[in-house]
Symmetry: C5
């Protein structure tokens, strides 16, 4: 899990614990039945909304997507440029040796297609189809979190209504009105916090992580097609560097110089 | 109906029954007139919103779409690859014998068009038109549920307003205020639960099921056009496998090996 | 007006009348001034939002669009197929005699263009421009209802605020608080019902009716262009039948058999 | 300013004045400080949201866009058809004399480009770029009103919160609770009315006016390109009439007959 | 920071300070713990939603984007036209001397590509890729503000719920109810003001600034490609002037006359 998710969640929870603690004991903000209503309702509705296999994959996708990406865009561009140089010197077939060294199955598949002499249009077609399905799977995972983010406040309100209705039935003892209402409002509170500190932010983070991964794959596709077209390695580099943000580009230039020295 | 829908709905209803039961008798949460207002209002508004024939088809579409899909993407890809091999060996006309064995009318129609020697552009045109209408019909069914999901809370609130206005007219007896308000809030509670545990989740599930079915049909279209173009069976398989998620692809590879052994 | 609109509106109104009547006299839910605020405010805001000529056309468009469509898609396909056969036998010019028998001005115009020997690209261009303007006009009418559906609850709330502010100024007599609040809440009730039982459902129904009409016109365009291209009547029929839903297709097949017998 | 805007705003304001007056003196609904909070807050937030030059242009754009369009689509089509006839008789250069008579700078520019013998693709390119920027400017003006329509209720609520918090601090005197709450609710009332009777309807009207103007410009572009291509004046007329709504088309036919008589 | 942002924020804050001050001491509207809950919650949720590097870049992007753009569209068009004249007179290579004088890295890169004799399609490809990533980065920064604008009211409500629940637990002392509720409502007030006076308006301003910068870059791309194609400087000017709003165009004409005099 990347650091900002942990820091954000941790500081958010700490913040509310302290805020609540400042006004009195924490205990009065804990209600097992309220948690069961909000979380249970949200999860039940989510199970109705999505097929089991998607919900099961959720944890896997989330874990994978929330972890630090294992290689950077500058690394990929360097790979592509060096492949391009090798292909120019020794021919496209020489790239076959590199496939085993790659730890990304998408890149492996792409290089294999190029080595096999597949038609460039078909290479693009196959890789972009794969990319668009990857995008769909990411959108699914994200969609589940967004959906939970909209169910949680609704079931929070449903729980408050249950408490409210119970309390209103027995108005004879005025001393119980306050505490009864307090407990009823707890589910709304839980629903709001769950939705705005966890579900919605997780959906947002998944979106950012997804577009980063998609971008890397697009760099791979553009790079492979340039290599297959036998373009000049400098043009390949120029083309792919356009995918970088200005600050990444600077750090890239530094890295490549190092790499070029190493390569030399 | 697929399992997750039943499990989700069941656990959600159970959850609320238990939550309510824990605070007192269930009876005070049952109000026939509240149910009539929320459900009746929602259904009336839905009848104004959609023509009768679409509402009638709703149950059929839902039943069909919620049931387990009867054949999987790997099965379809296997079909396509074996058709591709047969067409290469024995010519496109040999596929005519297969039509009767197919239990999907879309696939039957597609193979028939290919066997008839229809122009590839026209084949794509006809099948994609059909697919886009299928998509429209799915969107209709889903739209009805979404619409109901937005009407239910509104009529819940309308019912609460009716109860509230009645109660406020006769404030002379303070003892009836609480119970009156409790009954008034019941319709809002029903509206919230109906919308967030049933209508909206059903619309979400229909969307997932629809895109799964659309995807299978797209695999069929791509496969048939590749067969018609006389492409190599291995290319056909490679192209179609791009439609699979990575985990499906692994299980597909296992299946095909089995199939190839059987075929051998 | 098609049946479902009448049934839906009628049952919805009946439902609320009965629900209200069950709790006491209907009279306490009638307030002329509340109706004036909600309806008057909504209509005023709509007049600011749209030019007079669009608002005037609204009733006409609604009446026309809500009425039962006077001929079905299968009838249009039959027409197109028979035109196609006639054009093949006797030449495109022979279709000129049919124009007078057509009761749809769009179809008349299309056949006239084909008979005049207009360039196919221009035929498509002219008919699609016309279709897209028809779509725009439908979207306008629908937009007015959606807009009213969002204004009605807002003016309902504004009316409640007026009542509330009045009531709060004169809190000295506690006996008037309840009834005052009851009257104030009436405008919110009216706004909710108007929006969710009338304006929003009407906008939804207009959308369905519009897409049905657009679809029929698309069938006409595709059919006319196929006829002009001299395509085989069976291909024309196959192409156009792709526009039908499966259940319509079955009933179409029955109809055509009857027609073919009659034609024979 | 076109009539419907005045009528709608006038009748809306009158309606609320009468509704308020019926329940008591108008004075208790007037609060200078509430107006300052709602309007001041909305304007401040709008100034943060948009650069000064766009806000300054707002009044100009609004005034121009809300005024009655000075010439109609049928007039423009007649112009185009007569230009087309003149160009056919006397050559494209003869249109140069007409430029001075045109009072629309867009049309002037278009005719000038055609007279200059500019390449048709470039003519379309330049005019459509201009049109898309006109659309952007309209969207900006509309966007400012929509934004104000969403800020006004928010600042209305903020004002109510200020009043509420003040009132709650000094609960010792129960007689002031009612009037205090009444004043607090006034800002919410102002925000609702401003948003739903003025800002949102103005944004809607601007959208309609904008699409009308865009449509006229599109007629001009299509017409000029047809003239440049030397198309038959009857085809030009047929093409451009597709842009008209059916009822406008009828009135157009009457007008042209008159014009043709005059021209004869 | 451009003037309107400062004026808007300043006047908005002043307005609320005065409004609050008019009713009593400012002190009762200050609550450190409320500020901590709203701002802390919003920031925590934002940290979960976005990766650290994007949040860090936020201040930089905002500062850069909110500052006055350092050169205007008319200046850029003049540059392009003079480059076009120079390229016609002395050849494309002569533009190399100009690169050092340019203070915009995007324009430098573009001119360099043209001077290098890069294929026009590749020039467009590289520059548009860069532009689309610039757009993405702007959208990110804007997205963070929008997200904060939706979190702030939610955490405002969460804070109010905390205060409300605390207060309801200890209803025994009726004198503390009012002040307790007042403090509880403060967080909702803070959330509303933060969202509607700061976060949402900042997101809106960023959008305007972004589209202005994108437009300038589009002018550069179109200009460079026209120069590379060796188009007539007058055509280049005409093409690029279509990007200007009418009022900018007038001021541009004045400027160019001055420039042309200077150039002469």
């Amino acid at each position: 899990m990347d650091l900002s998710t942990i820091i954000g969640l941790g500081s958010g929870i700490l913040l509310f614990v302290i805020s609540i603690r400042m006004g009195g004991p924490l205990g009065s903000f804990y209600s097992a039945s309220s948690i069961v209503i909000v979380l249970g309702g949200t999860i039940s509705a989510t199970i109705v909304s999505y097929p089991m296999n998607q919900i099961k994959q959720l944890f896997k996708t989330v874990k994978k997507t929330m972890s630090k990406t294992n290689f950077s865009s500058s690394e990929i561009i360097n790979n592509m440029v060096s492949f391009s140089e090798k292909a120019r010197r020794e021919g496209l077939l020489s790239l076959e040796d590199e496939i085993a060294n790659l730890d990304d199955s998408f890149m492996q598949k792409g290089v294999q297609l190029v080595v096999d002499g597949t038609d460039p249009d078909l290479v693009r077609n196959i890789l972009e189809t794969e990319l668009s399905f990857l995008e769909d799977r990411h959108a699914q995972g994200r969609g589940i979190f967004s959906t939970m983010g909209s169910y949680a406040p609704a079931f929070g309100m449903a729980g408050t209504l249950i408490g409210l209705i119970r309390m209103l039935e027995t108005l004879d003892n005025p001393e119980t009105i306050g505490p009864g209402l307090a407990v009823a409002l707890l589910t709304t509170f839980y629903g709001t916090i769950l939705s705005n500190l966890f579900f919605n932010p997780m959906a947002a983070k998944l979106k950012v992580k997804s577009s980063e991964e998609i971008l890397l794959k697009e760099v791979v596709i553009e790079g492979l097609l340039s290599i297959q077209a036998g373009e000049n390695p400098r043009i390949v580099e120029e083309k792919l560097k356009a995918f970088l943000a200005p600050n990444e580009r600077e750090s890239f230039n530094k890295n490549t110089e190092v790499n070029e020295n190493e390569a030399a």
